[in-house]
């Protein structure tokens, strides 16, 4: 119980800090944190799949991009602002349908195959957007008018920031509740020992497909916010580099806890800004992906449980060798 309240406390602090941020920051800072919060929403959608169900999806960017493109393509062609909530629902729906179809196929495989086919199908989506007239090609498409609802106008940075904050909080609470519900526990069981789940009487395919679809829908939600924020979408939103980056975020933060994905998204953004900063890295700043690549390798090699596990690992070492290691391999959740 004490453990529970310390993480709830951290969460409250986290969201409060984010809520107060606009008052202490410049417009650049507000824009930056808006972007990071969107990536954080994308990261928790993936964490549910990877850390929750044990499904390593290397195609999360596809759902993100589809949500973004849907937001732009389904906005009215003239200059009337789209109704905020309806447009969001349409984006989520499009991403969800794609996730359902792709998931139905991909979940027929497992293990390494699954990783490869999710990557392949995401690449297919990239091609659809990149090569066909639907996507507007490499140039991308502009969103001319941002959606609104009554007095809420997402064209205003503060309103947008608030909308993103609310989305992140809502997404987190929904996914958290899912993870402690019978559905979530079933996913955890599938992750730890799918054979036993089947032997007990769980048909695992419907559970996995549902998780995959929900994950896709939330990623689509993040995509909608991205499109609305930038007013512009291009095929790179579906690129596998973004899929890879989201995976890096969740392992950086710590797989197995939703909070880890939040931490990871911010840590990743921090690393990117750090490595791109010229005062620190001079000529290397332009080759920041090298530093990032090395960091990813180092992180996985030496810190596989992620940043969020550091405080408790440190505390454990202070208390002495009480409970030694967990019985399973690293990077998995404990109950």
């Amino acid at each position: 119980m004490r453990y529970l309240s310390s993480s709830t406390l951290s969460l409250v602090l986290f969201f409060t800090a984010l809520a107060l941020w606009p008052w202490v920051s410049s417009s650049y800072g507000i824009d930056l944190v808006s972007k990071i919060m969107i990536y954080a929403l994308l990261a928790i959608s993936l964490e549910m799949l990877v850390g929750g169900a044990g499904l390593v999806c290397f195609g999360q960017a596809a759902f993100f991009g589809i949500g973004a493109y849907a937001a732009v393509l389904l906005s009215p062609a003239d200059s009337t602002p789209a109704p905020l909530v309806f447009l969001l629902l349409k984006s989520i729906f499009c991403a969800g349908v794609f996730a359902l179809l792709v998931g139905a196929l991909c979940l027929r495989t497992s293990g390494v195959y699954f990783i490869m086919v999710t990557l392949a199908f995401a690449q297919m989506a990239y091609f659809i957007v990149h090569d066909t007239p639907i996507g507007g090609g490499t140039d991308g498409i502009f969103l001319y008018v941002k959606p609104s609802l009554g007095w809420i106008d997402l064209d205003k940075p503060m309103h947008l920031y608030a909308a993103i904050w609310v989305s992140l909080l809502a997404g987190y609470l929904i996914l958290h509740q899912l993870s402690v519900s019978p559905f979530g526990r079933a996913l955890a069981g599938i992750r730890v020992n799918e054979q036993r789940m089947k032997a007990s009487g769980f048909s695992t395919y419907p559970y996995k497909l549902s998780a995959f679809t929900v994950s896709g829908m939330i990623a689509g939600w993040a995509g909608y916010l991205f499109a609305v924020k930038d007013g512009f979408v291009n095929p790179e939103l579906l690129s596998w580099h973004l899929s890879g980056a989201v995976l890096v975020m969740i392992i950086l933060g710590g797989i197995g806890r939703l909070g880890g994905a939040l931490v990871g998204a911010f840590a990743f953004a921090f690393l990117q800004e750090l490595f791109q900063s010229e005062p620190l890295f001079a000529g290397f700043a332009k080759h920041w992906q090298l530093s990032l690549g090395l960091s990813v390798i180092a992180c996985v090699a030496f810190m596989p449980q992620g940043l969020i596990a550091l405080p408790s690992q440190f505390a454990k070492r202070l208390r002495g060798r009480m409970a030694a290691q967990t019985p399973s391999s690293t990077g998995k959740s404990q109950i």
């Binding site: 495989t109 390494v112 596998w240 890879g244 080759h287 990813v296």
Partner: protein, 292 residues
Amino acid sequence: MDFAIFLIQCLNALQYGLLLFLIASGLTLIFGIMGVINLAHGSFYMIGAYMSYALAPVVASSFGGGFFSTLLVGIVASVILGYLLEWAFFSFLYEREHLQQVLMTYGLILVFEELRSILLGDDVHSVEIPKFLDISIPLNAVLTYPLYRLFMSGICLVLAIGMWLVFKRTRLGMMIRAGTSNREMVQSLGIDISLLYRTVFAVGVALAAFAGMISAPVSSVYPGMGSSVLIICFVVVVIGGIGSIRGAMLASLLVGLVDTFGKLLLPQISGMLVYVLMAFILLWRPSGLFKD
């Protein structure tokens, strides 16, 4: 469709398929034997291509060597690279979970791409076809086919046959086949498993790099070439079945056909067709055409 055009497309499909096989076979072997999913495999292809671009002038000025000398130097260099990489990096991945392997090799891609960017820049380069292969073979009154592409297909075929012979006829091949099905058993037989793994890995790297080297004159040398080939290789491995060389061959040829004829007949969606093929195979056989 004119017969000559059909023939040209078939030859193109064959050439593309055989080239894919060289790369994909390394990927599927490394996974089948060592259990490592290596995202950076496409980077070896890119490294090969950039090597043929960068080494050609060096080889020419050092000892007046031409295309084949550059190839030879490149092969040696990639085998050494493979050995070093396995020893320094990949050997630590064998016992790890797939997610960790995916992420570490993803980091490796970033490192390779940036190193290339630092050392050789981001420009697109072309590599010359050696003069004696730069001939067009006439097919009918109007159309010709480049000899160099036939040469590429020929070399890939020779290597494929060589691979088959090594697997079926040599002790090394026997060890490799045994290693695919039962790792512990091979070890308990006293075979130096580390050396075996290192050799397999180096060969895989060399094959991919070699594919890049011979493909450079035709496809030119550009930054994104590693990523695009990697994903197609994943499709080949999924269709063919992980760990199966036979599967990799059949799948590579299938992908070559679908891609080449797709570009001709359905150009708008040609980029997607390979994935549609993969989707159908998955519906029918989730573990690929040939099980390990």
